[in-house]
Symmetry: C3
């Protein structure tokens, strides 16, 4: 028996919107400690990891570990029917091949039950080892999303270069080239507007903008994004979910074939 | 000679938007008592009835009963050229094959005349007898529109079931099923947010969601919608137009072929 | 060496949006007095003239006259990456085949450099003689844009007729005809809401609505538009750019083949 009651139901709506374009089908894993997901995107290039801790739910009952295979597009269709102020409860009976999403309006005058069929999905859980990163950048999530979108109008890849002074995003394409530098800035009025750089050594890595833009679908989940970079490790783009967990995206850097590290690759 | 001056011209714009997707061509009937329309939708499944009473116009002159055939899409194109605060006057000379829509801006600095060709349209006026309904549901029009839209993402038909406690909207489709229950609630701050149920006997009827969604185009006309249901009678979905009349939509229930009354039909 | 620093960078963004649909490639001419452009639209029917005077820039350095050929669509892509509050600096080295647009955020925390390749464009500069116009209409730019858009839903051409009392915009199409009259009105609260007519003799001229609608893309540049009309001269549709210059569009009237001056032409 599974029953997870989330007062701030809009969080779950936002989580789905942030990952459904990247992942078609995935297993949601439910245990005593939380509700989580780990999945590769459909082209097996990027990895998504979601965690919603049990403490973040108003009511959390999970009698035994279960893994529920869901089509994220169908799940998203159902969650879109929840109001932004609705309380969402996820329910499943033991051995059932369906999951039920219950939406309660704040006044309790409208109660909706959406029942969705579960799927059998083969998946292997990858262990993601803790790693030391050469540089960690924390910046406003809206700013990061804007930069990825802007650079996409010029080129296909972004070079992210971190120094103590700031982080530089560069691209090059047929119509020209672009460099955007965000300076470290911790003296802003609101902490979520700060750009903070922790750096052990400078890094400069190249990534496909298509994936970066896809990750920024998670922007509504958090005011800030954290980008962790090391040579030879996938970048981690993390959006924290207040008091509950996170959505993390992993993407391997592109290996450059020549010195020109901003040249777009086919 | 016909001259109808409507100070709140945006009402006429909203009326057109509410029916133009359902009906292509229709006769507007003008008499001493009011301006009205009755028309089947293009697939002859749903019926629309509009009434704008003479008292609702600032000036209402209709020397003799006339019936003016109009293409609603063209009429809508012209009415879209009226500002939302404009006064609209409908004018036609006796025997003319055109109608003129005059728009006056609130400051009277801008006066527009749009002249549209009339059409000959065969139509028979159906008598709609007064009927006793098993159940009448009054609810916020925005809520009804939201429910019809949400259920359309799951299935093709909606079962509307009324009991004394509330009204239930159900559907079923390939990806799962959905039930939305709205409880009777008359103790809200604003009367237009109430859900009120008058019931003589319980009813449960099935309708095509495509038509229901089309009817909800009338939502901007009224804060509330009234749904009148009886077995073996078409449902009436009514949007009142403040102090002037109404737009009513009629739709026959689907006859179920088996016990499973939420099964979508081809 | 060229370096033009424009504090209100959004002006340059708006200028590009106002002309990029009309003109594909054009030479920007830079001299000690200002930054200007003159170009025919791609079908060689309309002419665009832009002037941004040197005094309007915070810093203006132009060592010698140069003409820089740019693809306006690519330039627009780059300028869209500037924030609305950003300071924009246009930079070019002598003899360089690129131009750089630098965007500085108001806090100086984000600095972007976009480098675009220049093009060789053949163009001849037309001398536009000063002319006496029969009638000059100044009216709110939003109102003019609305009228051109509204009339486009009915017909393909607009007849603009000016008398001392007002200006009339007329069209005719398959579904009917339309006349919109704006009365001279100088007693409004805000000067930019006035409709002011200076008339030496009445004029009535016909223009293609497709071009008029294209000109109205400049509406965000100015609250008012000035329309200068003479028989046998191209109309001038001018949007002033506060304290800096203007965007002007020139379009020849259509010659009517019969008396019916509102008949649409192929």
């Amino acid at each position: 028996m599974l029953e997870l009651r989330l007062v701030q139901g809009s969080l779950l709506k936002k989580v789905l919107e942030s990952i459904k374009d990247l992942v078609n089908d995935a297993n949601f894993d439910c245990s005593a400690t939380g509700f989580s997901l780990q999945a590769m995107d459909s082209s097996h290039v990027a990895l998504v990891a979601l965690l919603l801790r049990a403490e973040g739910f108003e009511h959390y009952r999970c009698d035994r570990n279960i893994s529920m295979g869901m089509n994220l597009n169908n799940m998203s269709k159902m969650l879109k029917c929840a109001g932004n102020d609705d309380i969402i409860t996820i329910k499943a009976d033991d051995g059932s091949d369906t999951v039920t999403f219950m939406f309660e309006s704040p006044t309790q005058d409208k109660i909706s039950d959406f029942e969705m069929k579960l799927m059998d999905i083969d998946s292997e859980h990858l262990g993601i080892p803790d790693a030391e990163y050469h540089a960690i950048v924390r910046m406003p999530s809206v700013e990061f999303a804007r930069i990825c979108k802007d650079l996409s109008s010029i080129g296909d890849t972004v070079v992210i270069s971190v120094t103590k002074e700031g982080v530089k995003f560069s691209t090059r394409g047929d119509i020209g080239s672009a460099n955007i530098v965000c300076r470290q800035n911790t003296t802003v009025d609101k902490p979520e507007e700060a750009t903070v750089i922790e750096m052990n050594e400078p890094v400069s890595l190249t990534f496909a903008l298509r994936y970066m833009n896809s990750f920024t679908k998670a922007t509504p989940l958090s005011n800030t994004v954290t980008i962790s970079l090391s040579s030879d490790l996938p970048v981690v783009v993390e959006y924290k979910i207040a008091e509950m967990g996170y959505v993390r995206f992993y993407l391997a850097p592109k290996i450059e074939e020549d010195e020109d590290d901003t040249k777009p690759q086919a």
